[in-house]
């Protein structure tokens, strides 16, 4: 088993790991010949199945991967990887490889970083008599090279261990739409979630005050307050997206319009199938018809974590 590569676009890689680490701790990283897959399956919450071409984050011509099973499955603490990748910022060279130390498998990240010092700490220790032009010992600015090694403990998963893990199949979407700017969407979603949760909290306190004898009542309301508020997300095939939240006391909605419903790639689909797709049937429904809207309810906090992928790329397709 062998894996070694030079990294490129470490910012992208780092942003990816940062987004992933907000959704789960342990990540299954599957290295294949042409793609790298990142999968997070938490006990509860959102699963992530990410796949990126090798040449997005790795220098393809330095990418070496050897394995009996044509893939290497690694279990890694994704926040450790994310933290380690921070060392690569401003690096001239960074290399990621699979290694072993004391029988423990490691993912070693070696970073060669060179930066210009301000010059005030460049004092020679031995070569003060260096006759070449660059006299060391002076306090002139010079390039400083630092080698950083980050050794991240990992677990190698046997192919049989991951055999049973498959990406869940989603039914054909009713609606697919490109979301508006995720930072905007996240801000609004977070605000809605907050409003709904403070609202239910306030009601809970009031209820206990008014009705302190009836314990069962108070307990019931506490229970309902514990369940996180559910956001209602709906969209149609006419470029409209609606984000709403409803509690007993309040109902808010934001509507975006003139968004894009990306067309499906005709190369993968025949004309016949195309017209059979639920999304096409939704498109035929009139723009103002409520039945043309596909609606989902999602946990506000979970959604907010998902939206944190916005740091990686602003263009996201949602399928409902």
């Amino acid at each position: 088993m062998r894996f070694r590569t030079q990294l490129k676009n470490t910012r992208t890689f780092s942003k990816l790991t940062a987004s992933l680490s907000s959704l789960g701790k342990v990540c299954w990283m599957r290295l294949e010949y042409d793609v790298v897959r990142f999968t997070i399956i938490p006990d509860q919450g959102t699963q992530v199945w990410a796949q990126i071409p090798v040449d997005t984050i790795f220098e393809e011509n330095t990418y070496e991967m050897e394995s009996n099973s044509e893939a290497i499955n690694i279990e890694i603490n994704i926040s450790n990887l994310n933290r380690a990748l921070r060392s690569t910022f401003g690096a001239s060279q960074s290399q990621l490889r699979l290694t072993k130390k004391d029988k423990m498998p490691l993912l070693a990240l070696t970073v060669l970083s060179s930066e210009w010092t301000e010059g005030n700490m460049a004092l020679a220790t031995e070569e003060t008599t260096d006759p070449t032009g660059e006299v060391t010992g002076d306090r002139r600015a010079r390039e400083r090279e630092t080698r950083i090694t980050q050794e991240i403990p990992i677990k190698i998963l046997h192919e049989s261990a991951v055999d049973g893990l498959h990406e869940p199949h989603c039914p054909d979407p009713d609606v697919h739409i490109i979301l508006p700017g995720l930072s905007q969407l996240k801000n609004i979603s977070d605000r809605f979630t907050k409003l709904a949760s403070t609202d239910s909290k306030g009601r809970q306190a009031g209820l206990i005050n008014m009705d302190s004898n009836s314990n069962s009542n108070a307990a019931a309301s506490a229970l309902s307050a514990n369940s996180a508020p559910k956001l209602e997300l709906s969209a149609n095939m006419h470029g409209k997206l609606r984000l709403a939240i409803a509690t007993d006391d309040l109902r808010i909605a934001s509507v975006w319009s003139a968004l894009i419903n990306p067309p499906l790639d005709p190369a993968h689909i025949t004309q016949d199938q195309y017209s059979q797709l639920p999304s096409e049937r939704m498109r035929e429904v009139g723009e103002d018809d409520e039945s043309g809207w596909a609606k989902v309810r999602i946990d506000g906090k979970d959604w907010s974590r998902v939206l944190s992928v916005g740091r990686l790329s602003p263009k996201v397709v949602a399928c409902e």
Binding site: K25, V26, E75, I76, N77, N80, R83, A84, R86, S87, M104, P105, L106, T117, N120, M121, A122, L123, A124, T125, E126, T136, R144, E145, T146, R147, I148, T149, Q150, E151, I152, P153, I154, K155
Partner: protein
């Protein structure tokens, strides 16, 4: 009667706040020591003149020792530079006879909760506000028979606003880690911003920092010794090592391939403060399992951090020493002259100590464990006898002519003690930085004829006194 009063300008106030913030990373309390002596003083004049040291300056020292006694932070403020005004007086109230050993020595020490002090100084210097602090005055008076123990802090602000605070301090035995710079064999100096860049690469959960010099490179490695269950591989900490060129240091004279490890948290605290003070940090050390000192000077403050190190010691250490617990200073003391025990309260002659609870006796014991529930004086073991200290005193004298870091020189002499190779580190309440052979005052009074001793065990088991001097009066020993 002791009185201490000082005043600080706004820049010094900011400095003081930074210092306290740094100290708070080591301990909950800050030890404040004021010292003033025009003449010389010696802790024990019984041996010879060498023990007398001149101390001609007025100084205020703020220090903190962490709870495991593996790190000691000290800031010495020079009177003339740091303070706007400073006065410290100890008036002898007719008990001169008790002070005979401390001629000319005028010192006062106490400890205060850092949090209390910090909250006073936090954010006080804001030039944009009308009511910004213009001056800070601190005052403290102590009468021998008065137990008020209050430090008064007055903030004189703009528009005639005066804010006064009264803080409770408590008398305490102050312990200093002694570090002999003259014996340093390894030394490096670096810009704190450069060190900060190194630290930034380490994972937040890393606990230890290993420093090593190899072929022109200085390598800093973070690691954690926390034992994780075998299966939870993913919870193992990330090992980070940063190798940088020696040339990035202002000075780098370090033995090749010697690994020395210190607590990363302490190192971070030092670097963070040095960065605010914009002072280059110098690290001095000899070998693993001996203390390291990180020091710098700025604006009238002399900062020194003495931290315990770990690693593979040269001699006699068990093979697992690399992973061994950082030895406590107090547990690994040799009967070397370095050992200068706190004797302020051991000497009943010092009048003002009478009111104070005796500090733990940091004697030559291997471990100091107060027995639960035993509070009688029987627990005090006799002071060490005279021979050993004097023997090692002569050894110390010889050591001027042998390599300073040669630990083996002690082996033969200390055989009788059955002790491990020792760290040269002791406690010094005198505040002087010399490493001269100094003996503790021998107070046979503390020994009770039938004090329990472990038969055959030659170790002294020192136990901290648990009773006030005043309480044991009437037994005929201290009358």
């Amino acid at each position: 009667m002791t009185s201490l009063s000082l005043s600080l300008g706004p820049p010094a106030l900011v400095r003081l706040h930074d210092v306290l913030t740094c100290l708070s990373k080591f301990s909950d309390t800050v030890a404040i020591e004021a010292e003033h002596s025009a003449v010389c003083f010696g802790r024990s004049c019984r041996i010879d003149e060498r023990t007398l040291t001149a101390w001609n300056e007025l100084k205020l020292r703020l220090s903190a020792l962490n709870s495991t006694k593996t790190a000691f932070a000290s800031f010495v403020c020079e009177k003339d530079v740091f303070f706007e005004s400073y006065s410290f007086q100890v008036r002898n109230d007719g008990r001169a006879s008790f002070q005979n050993q401390n001629q000319g020595q005028e010192r006062f020490y106490c400890q205060i909760l850092i949090r209390a002090l910090l909250s006073i100084f936090r954010g006080r210097v804001d030039r944009n506000k009308d009511t910004a602090v213009e001056r800070c005055e601190m005052e403290l008076h102590e009468e021998p028979h008065q137990a008020e123990c209050r430090l008064t802090v007055k903030m004189i602000c703009g528009l005639g606003v005066i804010k006064s605070y009264k803080l409770t301090y408590e008398p305490a035995a102050i312990q200093h880690a002694v570090f002999d710079r003259s014996k340093t064999t390894n030394q490096w100096t670096a810009d704190p911003r450069f060190l900060k860049q190194i630290i930034d690469h380490f994972s937040l959960s890393a606990e230890q920092l290993d420093i090593c010099a190899e072929s022109g490179k200085a390598t800093f490695t973070s690691f954690t010794t926390k034992i994780t269950e075998g299966k939870e591989v993913l919870k193992y900490p990330v090992h980070t090592s940063v190798a940088c060129d020696k040339k990035d240091f202002e000075e780098f004279i370090v033995e090749e391939n010697m690994h020395i490890a210190i607590n990363l948290k302490d190192f971070k605290a030092v670097v963070a403060h040095a960065e605010t003070a914009n002072a280059t940090v110098t690290a001095r050390y000899t070998s693993p399992c001996k203390p390291m000192q990180l020091a710098y000077e700025f604006e009238g403050i002399d900062a020194a951090f003495t931290v315990m190190t770990r690693g593979e010691a040269d001699v006699g250490e068990t093979s697992s020493s690399g992973r061994a617990v950082i030895p406590q200073f107090s547990q690994r003391q040799a009967p070397t002259p370095a050992l200068i025990s706190i004797s302020r309260n051991e000497t009943p002659q010092v009048a003002r100590n009478m009111e104070m609870p005796p500090p733990p006796v940091r004697s030559r014991s291997r471990s100091i464990r107060p027995l639960n529930g035993s509070s009688t004086q029987e627990n005090l073991t006799p002071r060490p006898t005279m021979e050993k200290p004097s023997a090692s005193a002569s050894m110390e004298f010889d050591s001027l002519f042998v390599p300073a870091d040669d630990d083996r020189q002690w082996d033969e002499m200390n055989d009788e003690d059955e002790e491990e190779p020792q760290d040269i580190l002791g406690w010094d309440a005198s505040g002087k930085e010399t490493f001269e052979p100094v003996l503790r005052d021998i107070e046979p009074d503390f020994s009770i004829p039938h004090a329990p001793r472990k038969g055959g065990d030659s170790d002294d088991i020192g136990l901290p006194p648990t009773q006030r001097m005043s309480q044991v009066r009437g037994f005929g020993l201290f009358d």
